[in-house]
Symmetry: C2
Subunit: 362 residues, 2 copies
């Protein structure tokens, strides 16, 4: 195993769209939202074990989730959990991990990935990651995993590729443009063209490539985190990070680096991926019963019901009769019953609860 | 207040149609099913306080519900709670109360009523009861309260009246026939005719009238309970009743007495009555919000939903969006979501749970 390989798992999200399962105190990545017996963070962690030693896997999360991370990942050291004192989006998160690890291993190669995505075909995924690591260790390149779109999804950003074959791997392409989330008509055009891939938010690069890119495209972020070189991995790291985050602006790696750099490449992949960003995407990626219901819960009595997403505590005895195309989720004594095609309103519902009841329900 | 007046409240039912609110361990009459702050039994008890001294109100219930009755009815004595060791339908229940009270007061007049009905117009109700008490205290008659039907309900028995005016009260009629629950076509004919009234199961009679009727029409039941004359209201009552119930057959007062006697009269009433036998009847009799939802529960966030019956624990935070014509009930960590027009299947659902999970859920 290549001890220069490192994995940075971004686990700071709060995921209000999955209320009442996910809450600020326990976001989606810390839940077994698919009912597999493992949380999404645990699945993500295990997914990267083939590529690097366990001690090279770092988790960046909010200071509020330190205990959750340590309790869910067996044998991980406190030094591998990077605690953000504030939410500043993905660029500062990645800069923190980059410069901290640079102090340990200047020859590091990185896989950077969200903690709450689903990968269905692990063998294909492993192949792509191996290709990617090989490529970024030999080339001054920023690499992202693009996913072949299976539907005109309007909830994702798309990456347009240049079709020139320029490398040993014929699914490795130069990026032409990153796009914002398209409307449905545009999304259909994207899918039909064959030139567009979903932006998975999974990145690979060497320490030197990403450092150079930060210096070039986000010089003030780079400067802030570089300053900590003597503090990282010492007892001064916490207070340095506290100070740095209060000064650092909110900026995403996509906007701040990927869209501006000219050495960005994409591995055009098709390993069954979802960001599990909504109950709908969860439904699409779940195994279903003979009536097309996606069910988690051991004591459910389901009659004459179709196309539902149902997620219930095991101990709860529930009878559902005559319900079609609904989301039914109970967690921590909170219950959601919502039409599946109106799930975009869940954020608003949660906001209403917040106004009337206070933060503790969210 | 006439100290010869007695009230017998029948509170032994188990009500599986209201699962998960009602369960064998806590049937409907012991629940605040309308969200008024009082259980149905408490409402029934208070409803009869104007007609007789508190100590003349007797509750007949299962031995299993003794504690529930005593805890819900303030200031009632243990001697007023008659405990049935087995379910034997209404005739033995009434015979027990009749002969027990005969030992205390041979001049008693009775109001006999179920514990779990709803009365909306209490003033009209009181007028009818007063009329009825006056009538049965002066006449050798069995009197039942008939309810003017507001719809062709197929869940109730009907009473056909003879239209001859024979008494001081013009809404007091001789009964022509008792009918079984009709089908819808027949129920429509009943309602249109103006000759049929719902059988409320609320009865009035004097001790002498009902004793005579028992002797005449259910002589073996009469003989069994008469035998206890020396045991009632002594420490031998329990063992006598234990023995008697094991020997007594299951028979209703309607079938065993009312349908056979020729001195049966009906007070044709219209005071807003329901037996609250189903969620649908509960819905009909509830106050509703502007979207025609009947709601119990303090932390419900309801959106785009109409014509639902919703009954939730106060502490439970629930979001419901886009649900129409459903029953949503949670109680004791059990949840029911059922199409309103399929509520007759609830018994079957409960039976399925019983088979798979055991009695403790029911």
């Amino acid at each position: 195993m290549n001890t220069n390989n490192y994995c940075v798992i971004m686990a700071g999200g709060i995921g209000s769209r999955f209320w009442p399962m996910s809450k600020t105190s326990r976001p989606k990545q810390f839940l077994d939202i698919l009912g597999t017996g493992k949380t999404l963070l645990q699945q993500t962690f295990e997914r990267f074990l083939p590529f690097c030693p366990k001690e090279n896997i770092y988790i960046v999360t909010s200071i509020d989730y330190k205990k959750l991370v340590l309790s869910q990942l067996d044998g991980i050291g406190e030094g591998q959990v990077l605690l953000e004192p504030a939410r500043r989006n993905t660029a500062p998160c990645i800069a923190y991990a980059t410069y901290k690890i640079s102090q340990i291993n200047p020859n590091a190669n990185f896989i950077v990935a969200p903690s709450d995505h689903l990968i269905l075909n692990i063998e294909d995924f492993n192949n792509e990651i191996n290709k990617g690591l090989d490529f970024v260790s030999k080339n001054k390149a920023l690499l992202t995993l693009g996913i072949k779109p299976s539907r005109p999804e309007t909830g994702y950003g798309y990456i347009q590729i240049s079709n020139d074959v320029i490398f040993a791997y014929d699914n490795l392409k130069k990026v032409k443009t990153f796009t914002e989330k398209p409307n449905l008509d545009l999304a259909k055009v994207f899918v039909q063209s064959g030139e567009f891939y979903w932006n998975s938010g999974i990145f690979l690069w060497s320490l030197s490539s990403i450092s150079t890119a930060f210096e070039q495209h986000l010089p003030e972020v780079s400067a802030l985190f570089k300053e900590g070189f003597d503090y990282y991995n010492t007892d001064k790291e916490d207070s340095f990070i506290q100070r740095t985050y209060s000064e650092c602006r909110n900026v995403s790696i996509d906007y701040g680096v990927m869209e501006k750099a000219d050495n960005v490449f994409v591995l055009c992949s098709d390993f069954g991926w979802s960001d599990l960003g909504t109950w709908g995407s969860l439904y699409e990626n779940s195994t279903k019963d003979e009536s097309e219901n996606s069910v988690v819960g051991k004591n459910l009595f389901l009659y004459n019901s179709r196309n539902c997403v149902i997620n219930l505590p095991d101990k709860k005895v529930v009878v559902i009769n005559g319900l079609n195309d609904f989301i039914v989720v109970e967690s921590d004594d909170m219950l959601l019953i919502c039409k599946k095609d109106e799930e975009q309103q869940i954020r608003q519902f949660v906001n209403d609860i917040k106004i009337q009841k206070g933060e503790e329900y969210l």
